[in-house]
C-alpha cells in the first residue's frame, strides 16, 4: 500500500477534526474533534512505523516499533487529558450551566 494514501487519509481526518474544532461551539464536541485529530495522527504513525519496518527490518528486527509505542503513549496521554478536560468542562457546567465555549468571554482585550 503506498504510504501516500495513508498520509492523505490521516491528513484528511486531521483537517476534518480541525474543521470541527473551528465550527462547533459545544466544548465537548470540540474536545471530541481534537481526539479525532489525535487518532488521525495515530494512524499515520502506525503507517510510518510499518513503512520503516519494511525498510529496515533486515538491519534491525524491531525497526519501526518505536512508532507504534509512541501511539501507545499518545493514547495514555489522551486518556489523562480527557479525564482532566472533562473535569474542567463539568466544573464549568456546574458554575454556568453551559458548555458553550463562547459563553464565557469576560477575559478579553
Amino acid at each position: 500500500m503506498p504510504i501516500n494514501y495513508y498520509i492523505f487519509l490521516s491528513l484528511a481526518l486531521f483537517c476534518i477534526g480541525m474543521v470541527g474544532v473551528l465550527t462547533r461551539r459545544n466544548a465537548i464536541i470540540v474536545f471530541m474533534c481534537i481526539e479525532l485529530m489525535l487518532n488521525a495522527v495515530n494512524l499515520l504513525l502506525v503507517a510510518f512505523s510499518k513503512m520503516h519496518h519494511l525498510k529496515n527490518a533486515v538491519a534491525n528486527a524491531s525497526a519501526g516499533g518505536d512508532g507504534q509505542l509512541f501511539v501507545f503513549f499518545i493514547m495514555v496521554v489522551a486518556a489523562a487529558e480527557v479525564s482532566v478536560g472533562l473535569a474542567i468542562i463539568v466544573m464549568l457546567y456546574r458554575n454556568v450551566r453551559s458548555v458553550d465555549i463562547n459563553f464565557l468571554n469576560r477575559l478579553k482585550h
Partner: protein, 634 residues
C-alpha cells in the same frame, strides 16, 4: 636691551586699574575720590602717551608682544601692542580728549547718586581701556577685542539712565547695529586667516605686498576682505546703511556723546582703514565704494541735520556727516588727510558737544533749541567756545577745521571735480546748519519757561576749563597740517604718518588752483553763514511741511528699516514659534506616541475573548505561514 616701548602696556593699564578700583569700590568711594581716580588714571596714561609719542617721533617703532593669547595649530595670536606713528597719534587724541571729558564729567554728573556716579566713571575708564586696546593692538584680533569692547561700553553708557526704556532701546539698537558690522569684520578676519594663516598686521601686509613666498592674496580676496572690513567700519563709524544708531545714541549723557560718539569710538573705523591702507590701496573697487558711501552719508546726514531741533541730534548728524567726509578722504586715498580730520574733528566736535552739554546743564535738561535763544548773554564762555567750534567745523580759516577739510577737498578734487562739487555743497550745508544751531540757541529772545530763565547760569569751572582748552585746540589744531602752499615743510602730520601711510608725492594740482579752491570754499561758506544769520537771527516757530517734513523725519529711514528687516524677522520667528514648532516638530514626536496608542487599541480587538476566534486565527496564520514557506519563499 629690550625696547623701552615695551612698557606701552602702561597706557591701557591705568584706565583698566581705574575701572577695577571704581567698579569694585563704588559703594565705598566718595564722589570726589571717584572723580580723581577716574580722571587721574586717564591723565597718567596721557602722560605715558605723550612720552611714547616723542619716542615714536624719533623713528622708534616697536611691536611689544606680551604673551600668546591663542596659539592653535599653526595659528598664533600674540597679545601684542603696535606702537607707531598712527597709534601714538590716536593715543594722544584718546587720552587727551578723554582726560578733558573726564574732568568735565566730574561736575556734569554731580547730581548723580554715589553708586551711579561711580558706575559712570568705571564705564568711562573701561571705554578708554578698550579704545586704547583697539588702537594699540598689533593684530586684527586684539583690534577686534577693543572694537567690541568700545561697542559694549557705548551700550552701557547709552543705557546709563536705564530706568527710561527709551534709552535701553537706543542702547540695544546701537549694540546690535554694531554687531552687524562686527560680523563682517569677523568674517574678514577669518578670510585673512584662511589665506595667510596669520593675523598680525605686519605679516598680513607683507603677504599682501607679496613679500612672503607661498602665500598671496588674489585680487578678489583683497576686494572682499577690504569690503568686509569697511562694512564693519560702517557699523562702528555710523555710515550708510548702519548710521541710524548714532543719533539715537544721544540718549546717553552728553559727555559720553562727546567722547564716544564724536571724538573717539566712531573714528575707530577710520583708524582701522587707515591702518590697513596697504590693503585698501590695492583695491580700486573698494575705494570707489567707500568714496561713494562716504559722500552719500555726508550729504544725507547734512540734509537731515538741517531740520533737527534737538541740539544734540543736530550735532550727532553733523558727526555722521563729518565721518562721511573722512571716509570720502579714505576713498580717494588721502589717508593722512582723513586722520588729520579725525584729529581736528575730535577737538571741535568734543568742544561743541561739551558746549551743548553746558547749555543743557544751564537749561536743566532742556535739549530743544526752539525753547532756547538769547543765551549768549548768560553763558559767555560757552557761547564763545561754541562759536569757535562752529567756525572750526564750518571751515573758516585759520581754524583747524579749515585745514583738515581743505586737505580732504583738495585730494577729492584731484580725484574727480564732480565729487568735489558735491562734497563742497555738503560743506556749505554743514556751515548752514551749524550756524542755524548757533543763532537759534544764543541769539534772539529767550523762548524757554520762566523757571528755566531764572535758572540760567554759566557752568562751573570744571566744565568751562575743558571747553576753553578744547577751543584753543580747535583753533591751533590745524597747524600740524598746514599745507605746503602756506609754509615750507608743512603738512607735518603727513610726514609724521609716512612710515605707516605711504605718501603719494606728486601734486597734480598747481598752487594757483589750490588757492582758488580755498578761496572758493571759504567764500561760499561765508555766504552760507550769512544766509543762516538773517534766517535764524531771531527764530520764530514754523511747522515744517513737504520736503522739510521729510527731512525733519530723517527721510523715514528708521521706519523703512522696521518695515523691511525688523518686522519680517519678528513675524517669521513668531510663525516658527507658534506654528512650526508646535505643529510640525512637536507634532511629529507626539504623533508617533498617538500612533502607538491607536494601534494598541486596534490590536486589543484581536483578543476577542472567544476561543473559536483564537483557533480560527491560529489556523489561518498556520495556513499563511505554510503557504509562505512552500510557495512564496524562493
Amino acid at each position: 636691551m629690550q625696547n623701552s616701548l615695551q612698557i606701552a602696556w602702561l597706557v591701557p593699564f591705568f584706565p583698566l586699574l581705574g575701572f577695577l578700583i571704581i567698579g569694585l569700590g563704588r559703594k565705598y568711594l566718595s564722589k570726589s575720590l571717584t572723580g580723581v581716580i577716574g580722571s587721574g588714571t586717564v591723565f597718567l596714561s596721557l602722560l605715558v602717551s605723550v612720552w611714547i609719542f616723542f619716542l615714536v617721533k624719533n623713528e622708534n617703532v616697536h611691536v611689544a608682544a606680551y604673551f600668546n593669547f591663542i596659539s592653535v595649530d599653526k595659528l598664533v595670536i600674540p597679545f601684542a601692542f603696535q606702537v607707531d606713528a598712527l597709534s601714538s597719534l590716536f593715543l594722544l587724541i584718546i587720552t587727551g580728549v578723554g582726560f578733558l571729558i573726564h574732568v568735565y564729567s566730574v561736575s556734569y554728573m554731580q547730581q548723580e547718586a554715589k553708586e551711579h556716579f561711580a558706575r559712570y566713571f568705571s564705564y568711562l575708564n573701561l571705554f578708554i581701556f578698550s579704545m586704547l586696546l583697539l588702537v594699540m593692538g598689533s593684530n586684527f584680533v586684539i583690534l577686534f577685542i577693543g572694537w567690541e569692547g568700545v561697542g559694549l561700553c557705548s551700550y552701557l553708557l547709552i543705557g546709563y539712565w536705564f530706568k527710561d526704556n527709551g534709552n535701553n532701546y537706543a542702547a540695544r539698537k546701537a549694540f546690535i547695529m554694531n554687531r552687524i558690522g562686527d560680523l563682517a569684520f569677523l568674517v574678514a578676519i577669518f578670510w585673512i586667516i584662511s589665506k595667510t594663516g596669520a593675523v598680525n598686521f605686519n605679516e598680513v601686509f607683507a603677504v599682501a605686498q607679496g613679500q612672503v613666498e607661498g602665500k598671496s592674496f588674489s585680487a578678489n580676496d583683497i576686494t572682499i576682505i577690504t569690503l568686509l572690513l569697511f562694512f564693519g567700519a560702517c557699523g562702528k563709524s555710523a555710515q550708510i546703511p548702519l548710521y541710524t544708531w548714532l543719533p539715537d545714541a544721544m540718549a546717553g549723557p552728553t559727555p559720553v556723546s562727546a567722547l564716544i560718539h564724536a571724538a573717539t569710538m566712531v573714528t575707530a573705523g577710520i583708524y582701522m582703514i587707515a591702518r590697513c591702507n596697504i590693503l585698501y590701496s590695492m583695491s580700486d573697487v573698494t575705494q570707489d565704494i567707500i568714496m561713494i558711501i562716504g559722500l552719500a552719508t555726508a550729504i544725507l546726514a547734512a540734509t537731515i541735520a538741517l531740520k533737527q531741533n534737538d541740539i544734540k541730534k543736530i550735532l550727532a548728524y553733523s558727526t555722521v556727516s563729518q565721518l562721511g567726509y573722512m571716509f570720502l578722504a579714505l576713498g580717494v586715498g588721502a589717508y593722512s588727510a582723513a586722520v588729520f580730520h579725525v584729529m581736528t574733528h575730535a577737538f571741535f566736535k568734543a568742544l561743541l558737544f561739551l558746549g551743548s552739554g553746558s547749555v543743557i546743564h544751564a537749561m536743566n535738561g532742556e535739549q530743544d533749541i526752539r525753547n532756547m535763544g538769547g543765551l549768549s548773554k548768560k553763558l559767555k564762555i560757552t557761547y564763545f567756545t561754541f562759536l569757535i567750534g562752529c567756525l572750526a567745523i564750518a571751515g573758516i580759516p585759520p581754524f583747524s577745521g579749515f585745514f583738515s577739510k581743505d586737505a580732504i577737498l583738495l585730494s577729492v578734487f584731484e580725484k574727480n571735480p564732480v565729487i568735489y562739487a558735491i562734497a563742497l555743497s555738503g560743506a556749505l550745508l554743514t556751515a548752514f546748519y551749524m550756524f542755524r544751531l548757533l543763532f537759534t540757541t544764543f541769539y534772539g529772545s529767550f523762548r524757554g519757561t520762566e523757571e528755566q530763565k531764572s535758572h540760567l547760569h554759566e557752568s562751573p569751572v570744571a566744565m568751562t576749563i575743558p571747553l576753553i582748552i578744547l577751543a584753543v585746540l580747535s583753533i591751533l589744531g590745524g597747524i600740524v597740517g598746514i599745507p605746503e602752499v602756506f609754509m615750507h615743510n608743512g603738512e607735518k602730520l603727513k610726514v609724521f604718518l609716512s612710515p605707516v601711510i605711504a605718501v603719494s608725492t606728486e601734486h597734480s594740482v598747481s598752487h594757483s588752483t589750490e588757492y582758488l579752491l580755498m578761496g572758493l570754499s571759504t567764500g561760499l561758506v561765508l555766504v552760507a553763514i550769512l544766509f543762516a544769520w538773517n534766517k535764524y537771527r531771531n527764530y520764530k516757530k514754523i511747522t515744517e511741511k513737504g520736503f522739510g517734513k521729510l527731512l525733519e523725519n530723517k527721510w523715514y529711514v528708521d521706519e523703512l528699516y522696521d518695515k523691511l528687516v525688523v518686522n519680517p524677522i519678528l513675524k517669521f520667528a513668531g510663525f516658527l514659534n507658534n506654528v512650526f514648532e508646535k505643529q510640525v516638530v512637536e507634532g511629529l514626536v507626539n504623533g508617533v506616541g498617538r500612533f502607538v496608542n491607536y494601534s494598541s487599541r486596534q490590536f486589543r480587538l484581536m483578543q476577542s475573548g472567544q476561543v473559536g476566534n483564537y483557533v480560527l486565527l491560529m489556523v489561518v496564520s498556520i495556513l499563511l505561514l505554510l503557504v509562505f514557506q512552500f510557495y512564496l519563499k524562493k
